[in-house]
């Protein structure tokens, strides 16, 4: 199930072409540009008896890593085009369209051993049993 819910993000970004996409942490000293995608799922608690308990929120935290702020913004635009508005097809789930719910501007990152610029965009879709 978790893999099915992560696949729409990874597939769409890889299909965009020209984007180097990592599904998880990058090896040390990887040269930009590239994208790092961390997929998570969450099941918010229901509030009333009428609420559906198995509503799943699928979130992708996408690091857009470039050599400059401008490069990060270009990657951000490419990720937006690839993801926003897409309605994922997940077996046995009825999915909302993907939307961007958060964004952090580019900032310096040295965690890979190289000094790069890292922008974070967060995307999400919600699904119910189909």
């Amino acid at each position: 199930m978790t893999a099915d819910l992560a696949a729409p993000y990874l597939d769409a970004l890889q299909a965009a072409g020209g984007l180097r996409v990592f599904d998880g942490p990058v090896p040390a000293k990887t040269a930009p540009p590239y994208l790092v995608v961390y997929c998570t799922t969450d099941v918010p608690e229901e509030t009333t008896l009428e609420d559906v308990a198995d509503r799943i929120e699928s979130t992708a935290i996408v690091h857009l890593v470039g050599s400059s702020g401008a490069a990060c913004r270009i990657l951000s635009g490419r990720a937006w085009e690839a993801l926003v508005g897409v309605r994922p097809a997940v077996p046995n789930r009825d999915c909302s369209r993907i939307r961007r719910i958060d964004s952090r501007p580019p900032s310096t990152d040295e965690s890979t051993g190289l000094v790069v610029m890292d922008q974070v965009d967060v995307f999400q879709f919600v699904s119910l049993p189909g």
Binding site: G24, Y34, Y38, I61, R104, S111, T112, V116
Partner: protein, 132 residues
């Protein structure tokens, strides 16, 4: 000459309702203030639970707190790590990760989990304040 028919209208209940509406702003504000504070506390508690404590994060959870703020037309709460406290500056790195370290989402999911409860509680608070 037309016959006049005396009509008497009892507006006592209408006056009571008008008085209730006059008082509503104060009552609603008091109720919403309580709901926002409770919601902020729930989010803080949930975020702490999600991040937990480990050998590398002995102090971070305790850096998460909240402040409430009240303006003329707004009651709000700010929830998150206090950067002046032990490991408080790690908040962004933990919530979003880095290119070579996976995130531990805790603030965003805690807010999302509370969102529907908060919305319902505010609705209930307004109904209670208006005596409906």
């Amino acid at each position: 000459m037309a016959t006049t028919i005396p009509v008497t209208i009892d507006v006592e209940q209408l006056e009571d309702f008008a008085r209730d509406l006059d008082n509503a702003e104060t009552l609603v504000r008091a109720e919403v203030r309580k709901v926002v504070a409770k919601g902020a506390l729930n989010i803080k508690t949930d975020a702490k639970k999600r991040i937990g404590r480990g050998p590398y994060l002995p102090g971070y959870a305790n850096s998460i707190g909240y402040d409430t703020r009240e303006r003329t037309t707004e009651i709000s709460a700010e929830i998150g790590p206090d950067k002046d406290k032990n490991q408080g500056p790690l908040g962004n790195i933990l919530d979003y990760g880095t290119p070579n370290r996976a995130p531990i989402p805790h603030l965003g999911p805690a807010l999302a989990a509370e969102d529907p409860r908060l919305e319902k509680a505010i609705g209930d608070a307004v109904i209670k304040a208006l005596g409906l």
